[in-house]
Each structure stands twice: as structure tokens, then as C-alpha cells.
């Protein structure tokens, strides 16, 4: 803070007009970046809100002259069983693959790796991070092959005397959930490894000397100190998982039927296959609202000081 004082003080001595110009001059470098963001982020979201109240479409009458239809898209949406199912699938996918799978999985991996031999950490790290670095499309192909009828998983099960299944047909949501856990756990692991290295050793040693068990140390020292990292991580992975499209699109295409049709897939179908842009926009708003709801919960958790 001390360091910043100098330019501030010289600024206050200038006449107000120059001060204003100076502030504007400082804000100037922000303009190109934020202009681009306004055009491609803020603009589209505002347009999305507007379009969700119209019957805008790519073909037919709605294409040339979209009409305001009030809440029709939203009313249609909430009376549409496909939508309700899709919303439900999205929430299950979010909780299963992000909040439980990646988050807890990443935490356990970070705890397991903490303090282990360098070579083990490096090898496991490369494998897990490799899954994360690989393009989503390729991950989709790999899991499609892995879970297919004649795929690796069934071959392994067969080798140990068990019967496999058509995983992608019989359990599509579980399949894409596990594939997404495989793909995303590395991120949580990296976040938690960094957070773990910030937990002071003295605290843990003192507690150990006082006779606290390993579990008690984890529960009362390590985890509370990692609270912020955990909430930040949860927010990031929840919103990332909410937007997962490619993995599901490649593995199941949302099927069979609509059994793994999460909101992004449903939105894609409506907007780009059936050309109902207005309805697609309304679905996008719901998608954003789900993300917003989760974010509010996490942000409130962050505000509470421990």
C-alpha cells in the first residue's frame, strides 16, 4: 500500500480537470479488452434475455419478423417434460461429477500424494494431468471406445469372470459422469495440492504432539485452512461442468432417447437442430441461472469468516 501512495499524492495536487483526464488515461488500456468483452459477452447475454421473450427462429415466419411472445417460451419450458428431465439430469451430473467426483477425488488424491516419494507423485501426476490436458473431443472418443460393448472395460470384466454391459446404453448418465470425473479431477488435485503446501507444518506437528489423530488433524486443522481454496475450486468446477457439451455429445449424443440430455445438449438440439432460437435462448438463461445459484451459495460461504 505504501508503494502506491506516491503517484496518488501527486495526483491530488493537480487541478480537477487534469485529475479526471489522468484517471481516464489510466483506464484507457482497459478499453480494447473490455470493448471486446462487451461485444461478445455482455451483448450476447442481453440479446439472449431479449430473444427468450420472442419467437425468433432460423427459418419460417420467426426468421424474418420475430414477435414478442412474452413468457411463452418460459411457460412452454416448464410444462415441457423434456426440459424438466433435462434440468434434473444437469443437476445430477453437476453434483455427481463436479461436487462429489472431481472435488472429493481431487482432495483425496492431493492428500494421498502429500509427502510421498517424488517419483510416485510425478508418475501419478503425469497420468492424471494428462487426462486433463487432452482435448475434450479426444477424451470423448477414448471413453466411447473404453465403454463400448467390445471395449476395454468389458474385456477386463470378462477376464475376471464378470459380465459386462452396454454401458453407454444402460447407464448413459453414469458413463458421462465418470468420464467427466476422469477428465476434470486433475484441476481439483492441483488446487488442493497447492493449498495443502500452504498449511503450516508446525501446526500439524504441535497437534500431533498433543495426541491428535491423523483424522482429527485433517478435520480440525487442514480442512478449515483450505476452506477458501475449496469454495473457489467448487465454484470453478461447477461452472465448468455446467457447460460440458463436447464430452456428452461425442459419447452419447444425449441419448439413448433423452437419458443423458443435459441442458447444453438440449439447448443445442432446440437452437441448432430445430432452429428454435428463442426457446434455445430461454434454455441458455436457465443454464446461466443454475450457474448463478450455485455461485451465490459458494460466494456466501466465502464471505463467512472462520
Amino acid at each position: 500500500m505504501v508503494a502506491v501512495d506516491l503517484p496518488e499524492r501527486t495526483a491530488t495536487r493537480r487541478p480537477p480537470a487534469r485529475r479526471g483526464r489522468r484517471a481516464a488515461g489510466r483506464a484507457l488500456p482497459l478499453v480494447p479488452a473490455f470493448g471486446l468483452l462487451a461485444l461478445f459477452f455482455v451483448g450476447p447475454i442481453l440479446w439472449c434475455v431479449y430473444a427468450s421473450f420472442t419467437d425468433i427462429a432460423l427459418t419460417g415466419a420467426g426468421a424474418s419478423t420475430p414477435h414478442l411472445v412474452g413468457l411463452r417460451n418460459y411457460r412452454q419450458m416448464f410444462s415441457d417434460p423434456t426440459f424438466t428431465k433435462s434440468l434434473w439430469l444437469t443437476v445430477v451430473f453437476l453434483i455427481g461429477s463436479a461436487i462429489i467426483g472431481q472435488n472429493i477425488g481431487g482432495l483425496i488424491l492431493a492428500l494421498l500424494m502429500n509427502g510421498r516419494r517424488r517419483i510416485v507423485r510425478t508418475v501419478v501426476g503425469i497420468i492424471v494431468v494428462g487426462a486433463w490436458v487432452l482435448p475434450e473431443l479426444v477424451a470423448g472418443f477414448m471413453w466411447y471406445a473404453f465403454l463400448s460393448d467390445t471395449g476395454t472395460l468389458n474385456a477386463i470384466l470378462h477376464a475376471v469372470g464378470l459380465h459386462g454391459k452396454s454401458w453407454l446404453y444402460s447407464m448413459p448418465l453414469a458413463s458421462v459422469t465418470i468420464a467427466n470425473i476422469w477428465r476434470g479431477t486433475a484441476f481439483s488435485m492441483l488446487v488442493y495440492s497447492a493449498a495443502l503446501s500452504n498449511v503450516p507444518d508446525e501446526l500439524l506437528e504441535a497437534a500431533a504432539v498433543d495426541g491428535a489423530s491423523a483424522f482429527a488433524r485433517l478435520r480440525h486443522i487442514t480442512l478449515p485452512l483450505m476452506r477458501r481454496a475449496m469454495l473457489t475450486n467448487l465454484m470453478t468446477i461447477t461452472l465448468q461442468t455446467l457447460g460440458v457439451f463436447t464430452l456428452i455429445f461425442v459419447m452419447t449424443g444425449g441419448g439413448p432417447g433423452t437419458k443423458s440430455q443435459t441442458l447444453p445438449i438440449y439447448m443445442y438440439q432446440e437452437a441448432f437442430k430445430f432452429y428454435h432460437l428463442g426457446y434455445g435462448a430461454a434454455l441458455a438463461i436457465v443454464l446461466l441461472a443454475v450457474g448463478g445459484l450455485f455461485s451465490i451459495v459458494y460466494l456466501r460461504g466465502m464471505r463467512k469468516e472462520v
Partner: protein, 281 residues
């Protein structure tokens, strides 16, 4: 914690369990990769994973046709363009946010964090509408600009965090000598944060390279589509069993640049790469 204590044998047992679990997790994470590698060097690959009778590199040579090379070149144009443009826009934007943050305040920073997390999927419908209205569909420059915008909030945020680590005292000397903010940024700050800049470049490049949905929606002409879309279209429409080897080979070739980029960045930058810019704060 090298404290000799009566619990030492128990600790060794805990360590053994931890190593066993790490080995299992590593194996479980490794298994799905098996098909990709074996199918790519097999002469008659299927969806099953088996040690091929005869090894071949023909899948790799066969898949490097003119069209596929063209698609990889498109990927390179999009990713390189977006990554360079991101640096060009993010560095100046991060500078005032890092140096005069109390003036611009938290709203901008909070907005940036929110935009960083925003799933791009959610805005593809309106962006498609925007592209139709401005007649920008099938335009590689416009798609590059949009991809830049999607990575920009994270890039600015990371740049700001890396910039916060550069002591301000160096610039103050330059300011006293009459150097402008831009000069201070170019001559003093940026040279001191080369590792951070490299991390931002790597992330943006890899994100753009791996992006399927955005070019899938915005680029319709096959001649303009990047590798991600080309692989999907090619094998999605052919769907023939004969092409699994080609699919695996093309997938490997397509993944290689980002995997190498991460590996090099990780090796040369070490800890700077440990997500510091992304996670801090």
C-alpha cells in the same frame, strides 16, 4: 515431519496403503488411454483394446491427407491468433488493475471472475444470433476474435496476479524519470513476468486448440474448420469400422501439440506453472 515416535510403524502402514491406492488410481486413469495408442498402431483396429498382431504406422501416414493437414493448419491459425491477441489485450488491461486497483475497485475484478467462470456453452445461442446478424458466420477472423473474448477474462485475471508480484518500486523510478505507463509496462514490468506471460499464452492456446463447440457452431465451410471439427465430421459421417485406426491416429496427432506445449511449459517454468495465477486470490 521426521519426528521419531512410537507411531512410526503405523505411519509406515499408512504410507503403504497410500502408495497402493495411488497405484490403483494411476492404473484406473491410465486404462482409457490404452485403446487410443493400440488402435493407432494396429492394422485392423476395432473398438476393443488388444495387442495388435502387426504393428504399423500406416494409420498415421494415411491420415495426413491434404484436408486433414489443412484442418490442423486452421487450428494453428485460430489458436495462435487467439493466444497472441489475448496477450496483446490482456497485458495493458491488467496493468491498471494491478497498479491502481483501489481506483477501479472491486466491481471490475468481481466481474472478471464471474466472466472467467461463465460457461461459454451458455452464450453460444446468442453469439450465433449475433454472427448471423452481422454476417460473420464462416469468418475465421471473427471466430478468432470470439475465442479471444472467451479466454480474455481468465487471461486478464492471471496477468493481474502475476503483475502484482512485480515490485512497483522499479516503475516508480521510471515514473520519476518521466516514463509513461505504457513505457513502464513494456520496458520494466513485462520483461520481469515472462514466465507468467508464457503460462497465459499456453493456457489460451491449449483452450482454443481443444475447443470443439465454438468452431462447430460458427464455422460451417469444411475448408475453414479446425482439426477438432474436422475429426468429428469426418468420422461422424463415415462411421465405418475401417476408420478406427485413422480416428485414433488423427486424435493423437491432434492432441500432440497441446500435450507438448504443457510439458515444455511445465518443465521450463516449474513452479510458476503450478496454477499460481489462476488460483490465487
Amino acid at each position: 515431519m521426521p519426528v521419531p515416535s512410537p507411531t512410526a510403524p503405523r505411519r509406515r502402514a499408512v504410507a503403504a496403503v497410500a502408495y497402493l491406492m495411488l497405484a490403483l488410481v494411476g492404473l484406473a486413469f491410465l486404462l482409457p488411454f490404452g485403446w487410443l495408442f493400440l488402435a493407432s498402431i494396429s492394422e485392423q483396429p476395432t473398438l476393443s483394446t488388444s495387442i495388435p498382431d502387426r504393428l504399423t504406422l500406416r494409420n498415421f501416414t494415411d491420415v495426413l491427407t491434404g484436408d486433414n493437414l489443412h484442418a490442423l493448419a486452421n487450428s494453428l491459425v485460430l489458436s495462435m491468433g487467439a493466444a497472441l491477441l489475448t496477450l496483446l489485450l490482456a497485458a495493458p488491461a491488467a496493468y491498471p488493475l494491478s497498479r491502481y486497483s483501489q481506483r477501479f475497485g472491486r466491481p471490475i475484478l468481481l466481474g472478471l471472475i464471474f466472466a472467467t467462470c461463465l460457461p461459454v456453452t451458455a452464450i453460444m445461442v446468442p453469439v450465433y444470433g449475433l454472427f448471423v446478424q452481422l454476417d460473420l458466420l464462416d469468418s475465421i477472423p471473427a471466430t478468432t476474435l470470439f475465442l479471444t473474448a472467451t479466454g480474455l477474462p481468465m487471461a486478464i485475471w492471471m496477468m493481474k496476479n502475476f503483475m502484482d508480484d512485480v515490485p512497483i518500486s522499479l516503475e516508480e523510478a521510471a515514473w520519476v524519470d518521466g516514463a509513461s505507463g505504457l513505457r513502464a509496462l513494456l520496458r520494466i514490468v513485462l520483461p520481469l513476468m515472462v514466465p507468467g506471460t508464457t503460462v497465459v499464452f499456453t493456457f489460451t492456446f491449449a483452450l482454443t486448440w481443444g475447443n470443439f463447440f465454438v468452431p462447430f457452431i460458427l464455422l460451417i465451410d469444411p475448408a475453414k474448420q479446425p482439426a477438432a471439427v474436422a475429426i468429428y465430421q469426418y468420422f461422424g459421417t463415415q462411421g465405418g469400422y475401417a476408420s478406427y485406426g485413422l480416428l485414433a491416429a488423427f486424435s493423437i496427432l491432434y492432441s500432440l501439440p497441446v500435450v507438448l506445449l504443457y510439458a515444455v511449459a511445465q518443465r521450463t517454468l516449474g513452479n510458476a506453472f503450478a496454477m499460481q495465477g489462476a488460483v490465487k486470490g
